[in-house]
Symmetry: C2
Subunit: 242 residues, 2 copies
């Protein structure tokens, strides 16, 4: 079951083995999985390796450990309540048949600022591609996006015309980078700079929506970190306390 000649680390293979058995129902929620000793023998690896695998799965919420009792299977973590699709602005608009356009404000390789380097898990000052765009719907400015991509993943991307090409298309087509998953954080905010107010054509007292997004490839490499500021209004009916 475990292949020692594979370039895939043993602990990672073991994670997959256990995950598979959980997802396929061999191990059911509430069951204990085999003890560390048993797993050592089954897969002929050291205890430290077994522990590395198990602790990883505990961190991901698949398992919980109780001292002197065993390692228990959790119910599959529910999907996040609000799942968005991993679409870019262009895709979204095209799909809805909405006319849009893009103006590129900035397009350079720069040394990664601290915050960006943290998000992309690279060293501060490592080169990143910075793409700063203003996007329009029906000729109305609605959205400012600041994207950052490690330059290592996309050499010479700064030569591409992003007024007529979508970023996600370019990543997929030119660099064979397929985005796999990601996370977006939404937060209401007030415009921070006069430039934002000017670009979006709003008053400095208009609240905007601030979105931070980080997307990854299948193997969990961070690809794009993007900060979006957009205007508009949105009403949600929530439920209330009193």
């Amino acid at each position: 079951m475990i292949n020692r000649n594979s370039p895939i680390p043993l602990y990672y293979q073991l994670i997959q083995e256990i995950k598979d058995k959980i997802e396929s129902g061999v191990y059911e929620p509430g069951d204990t999985i085999p003890t560390e000793i048993e797993l050592m023998e089954q897969f002929d690896v050291s205890r430290a390796t077994v522990r590395q695998s198990i602790l990883h799965l505990v961190n991901e919420g698949y398992l919980r450990r109780i001292k002197a009792k065993g390692t228990f299977v959790n119910t599959r973590p529910e999907k996040p309540k609000f799942i968005g699709t991993l679409k870019g602005f262009a895709q979204e608009m095209t799909q809805k048949g909405i006319a849009f356009s893009t103006k590129v404000l900035e397009k350079h390789i720069i040394p990664a600022p601290l915050k960006v380097s943290e998000k992309l898990n690279i060293a501060t000052e490592d080169p990143v591609f910075h793409l700063h765009r203003l996007r329009f719907i029906h000729h109305e400015p609605v959205l400012i996006a600041n994207s950052f991509i490690p330059e290592q993943l996309c050499r010479h991307i700064e030569d591409i015309d992003f007024e007529h090409n979508s970023l996600y298309d370019v990543l997929e087509t030119n660099y064979r980078i397929t985005l796999h998953h990601g996370r977006r954080d939404f937060e209401p905010a007030m415009p921070l700079s006069a430039e934002e107010v000017r670009l979006l054509g709003i008053s400095s007292k208009t609240p905007i929506l601030y979105v931070e997004s980080l997307v990854y490839t299948q193997d969990n490499t961070p690809v794009e970190y993007v900060e979006i500021k957009m205007r508009g209004k949105f009403t949600v009916d929530l439920i209330q306390l009193f």
Copy 2:
């Protein structure tokens, strides 16, 4: 700096050391911390112990590691955007000067159901105290709460009168359990059972607010898992896309 006679594990002492230096600014965001080898020598522990400490801090977002480059300090994670206070219903109401009352529907030690055992990090079927309450404001039923607490933490709690005592007060006063932090998840829902509809005096088509809450002591021991269903309405002005 590290005390080998302390009952506190070495790796945990080391975590505190590093965290302190981050929080006090000795290590600044973007800096590298000492290498694993250097930390081994500084604190005279093995590399595995150093790694255990560092990986813990990576998991908590304090550090990030970049192979062949080093271990970097992240900017302090911002506080969650919406911080609530860790108050119970009774405290909240008293503070606002609102008249409220409580009816206990159920009060027993039971074997922990699967979901509860996972939340409280105990084994399924381990004994837990189950408290099922209906709470009123101005004699109107508004809230159903199902609380679960590991029985090990609160022996004989089932003998206490919870119509005139608040749960959090009892935990603090009788059991010396001080709640330290927690998390609440809010979610709109429809009433699931006829009982809920009846108890809350609502129609089965009225949406309700479903809240899951898990609170911990300072040392991260889960104390109370509670599921709340409440009625009411709530309007939030969010910002909107288009």
